[in-house]
């Protein structure tokens, strides 16, 4: 199940499709999922080409995920090496075979959210490529930035001002500024959290071409954006539909290596419960936040998911009836107990709105409840029950 807390990152070729929709040029290229396909693509395009592993990760170049190929045979070999390669948290499943661009300069253009200040920024640099972060660290002037006003439309002249500050002039200034306007407007229209073109190639005739595309889309905006995005990025239709559906699922779940299942209402409480299990010498099996306003189905689904893991030897449920309702949550838990007869102990710590009704339901199913106690109490209880069962 995808993590809702992980913004949707498009693959490079998908990002370039979106940029094309916004009126920006990208190098000629095609996607291949097999080495033979990559070779054929290179032959059709006329080698030399560059073969680029498609994963939603940065640092592909440094990880060896981007290779030049002088001939179709080399392209096939490069694809053979790249497909299946692990880069960061992802495995390469396809490669983009692209023509080489005879650039005169590599620039950097990006739109991003500055999470520290809670503002969106537009960024430009005349020295792009892999060293843009280093350049930015060396000198504050290396990357020119401007805060974007969320209530006003970004104007072309503002982009030209930024390009001047980045040290650009002549045709380069005009083309790069024009590209930035497209990126900013695209980010606004499609509700992107990041739109980064690095490198943005300058051609001898002054035109610009997108060397790469890193685009992150806001998951919470997908309910109203996924159709427009799917139209703009046919290659991502399935991924978008899957993400849009998952957004409504409301469970944030990260499995980890352990045997004490945790279900909590609220991310902070989930983290605190994990911390407490670790503190008492237990090994949490997951981070799981059922979120707010969920029906009994949500907690039942979460519980079934954990119980389906054979390594889970007990589950501690730590919830409050605030935005959630104790009675509704208890019914979800009871449903699982009734229908599935879980083999492992479950402890529920639950308090808040409709607690009496909730406790009554759980008590009638023999589920141990921590009513007035602490998270420590609930954790100690589950660890005790798990240990007793193990030595029984």
């Amino acid at each position: 199940m995808p993590e809702p807390s992980d913004p949707m990152r498009l693959l490079e070729h998908e990002g370039k499709q979106l940029l094309g929709h916004l009126g920006m040029s990208a190098p000629r290229g095609s996607v291949a999922t097999t080495p033979a396909g990559a070779g054929a693509a290179a032959a059709q395009m006329g080698a030399p080409v560059v073969v680029k592993g498609q994963v939603p990760e940065g640092g592909r170049g440094k990880a060896g995920g981007i290779r030049k190929a002088a001939t179709p045979a080399e392209a096939e070999e490069a694809a053979r090496a790249l497909i299946g390669m692990q880069i960061g948290e992802h495995r390469v499943e396809s490669v983009l075979v692209e023509e080489l661009v005879p650039f005169t300069q590599e620039c950097y253009a990006g739109v991003t959210v500055d999470w520290t200040t809670g503002q969106m920024l537009a960024l430009l640099s005349a020295s792009g490529g892999i060293d843009v972060e280093a350049a930015s660290a060396r000198s504050a002037d290396a990357v020119a930035r401007v805060v974007l006003d969320p209530l006003a439309e970004f104007q072309a002249y503002e982009a030209r001002n930024l390009a001047r500050r980045a040290g650009l002039s002549g045709r380069a200034l005009v083309s790069v500024a024009d590209a930035l306007v497209r990126l900013v407007r695209g980010a606004a229209v499609f509700e992107c959290l990041l739109v980064e073109v690095n490198p943005l190639f300058l051609l001898p005739d002054g035109r610009v071409v997108a060397g790469d595309a890193k685009i992150e889309v806001d998951d919470s905006a997908l309910p109203r954006q996924h159709r427009a995005l799917a139209e703009a990025i046919p290659a991502a239709v399935d991924a978008l539909a899957e993400r849009a559906n998952a957004e409504g699922a409301q469970i944030a779940y990260v499995p980890i290596d352990g045997d004490i299942g945790i279900i909590a209402g609220g991310a902070g409480l989930a983290l605190a419960t994990m911390d407490t299990v670790f503190e008492y010498g237990g090994r949490p099996a997951d981070f799981l936040d059922i979120g707010g306003g969920g029906a009994s189905g949500v907690i039942a689904r979460a519980l079934r998911m954990l119980l389906a893991r054979t390594e889970v030897r007990g589950v501690v449920i730590n919830v409050y009836g605030g935005i959630n309702n104790c009675e509704v949550m208890a019914r979800g838990i009871a449903d699982v107990c009734e229908k599935d007869h879980p083999a492992v102990p479950i402890v529920v710590k639950m308090r808040g709105h409709f607690q009496e009704e909730g406790w009554a339901i759980l008590e009638s199913h023999g589920v141990p409840i921590v009513k007035q106690g602490t998270t420590d109490d609930a954790v100690m209880r589950i660890l005790d029950l798990v240990e007793r069962r193990a030595s029984a």
């Binding site: 993590e3 944030a252 911390d275 602490t374």
Partner: protein, 289 residues
């Protein structure tokens, strides 16, 4: 006195006829909150728990003079509801809704700032000044009256801390949940500022977690001045595996910053007592009251 909300609060509930709106209107009224009106477009003239419903915020304000709004509308219409409240110059708006799109929040924040409107949330529990008023979804019976101010990124951790205090005979001046989203209204610093001059608050508790920069900003604020009251903190996620991304959407640890350890160190450096567990936190608060 308390901060943000008190016995002078006259509350407007936006989205009052929805499931959450109606349920929490009832629960807030039971708590004693003075709810003067509700708004749901198209339902003007109806009553919910005997609270008059209006079609527009403008009309509700004209007829009943609320001074705080709480928003329960769905995520896709939250921006519209917030803009409506901001335009009506309601001084404080609390957004309970979760999954509000980030671009909408950027717009809401900017619009609120330009009109001098204070914002709480989104994706938060609201604010409660026990014994005076509750503007939010917290289970009021878990919160006692007292002198501990709490500002928190986690709603349920707030319920936990408040209930632990109450069970030991202590209580809260005001508890405010700033919510779990990365782009939000007031932060730790705003609450610290308000608590500093609140005669009802003797001690402030910060409840944080991994991700984002709120705790670091609080540490910088505290380091830059002699804060007049003891500040304690707990940061959830201390032992969470760092290579895995977990937490609120705002809890993503980006490029190595935002770890619990870094936040705890920053806060300690600023003179905050940072507890390593909830158990220790309660003990340390009690020891200072």
């Amino acid at each position: 006195m308390s901060i943000l909300v008190d016995e002078q609060t006259r509350l407007l509930v936006q989205g009052i006829t929805g499931q959450q709106g109606t349920l929490h209107t009832r629960l807030m009224l039971e708590y004693g909150t003075n709810i003067v009106a509700g708004v749901t477009p198209g339902r003007g003239g109806q009553r919910v728990c005997d609270v008059p419903v209006f079609d527009t915020v403008a009309e509700a304000c004209e007829r009943t003079r609320p001074n705080v709004s709480i928003i329960f509308v769905p995520a896709m219409t939250t921006r519209d509801a917030a803009f409506e409240a901001i335009t009506a110059r309601l001084p404080l708006i609390t957004i309970i809704t979760e999954h509000v799109p980030i671009h909408d929040m950027l717009r809401i924040r900017a619009h609120a700032a330009r009109h001098g409107v204070r914002l709480i949330g989104p994706n938060g529990i609201g604010a409660i000044s026990p014994g005076k008023t509750k503007v939010g979804i917290m289970p009021g019976m878990l919160y006692g009256q007292g002198s501990v101010g709490i500002v928190s990124r986690s709603g349920t951790l707030t319920h936990e801390t408040a209930s632990l205090l109450r069970d030991r005979g202590f209580g809260n001046s005001t508890c405010v949940g700033i919510g779990g989203d990365p782009i939000h209204g007031i932060g730790f610093v705003d609450a610290l500022d308000l608590f500093a001059s609140d005669p009802d608050t003797a001690l402030v508790v910060i409840l944080g977690e991994i991700g984002g920069g709120d705790e670091e900003q609080a540490a910088a604020y505290l380091s830059a001045r002699k804060y007049p009251k003891p500040v304690l903190a707990y940061v959830a996620g201390r032992l969470a595996p760092p290579e895995k991304r977990m937490g609120h959407a705002g809890a993503i640890v980006r490029q190595g910053t935002g770890t619990a350890q870094a936040k705890m160190a920053a806060l300690r450096h600023a003179g905050v007592h940072v507890a390593s567990s909830l158990k220790e936190l309660t003990h340390e608060i009690a020891a200072r009251l």
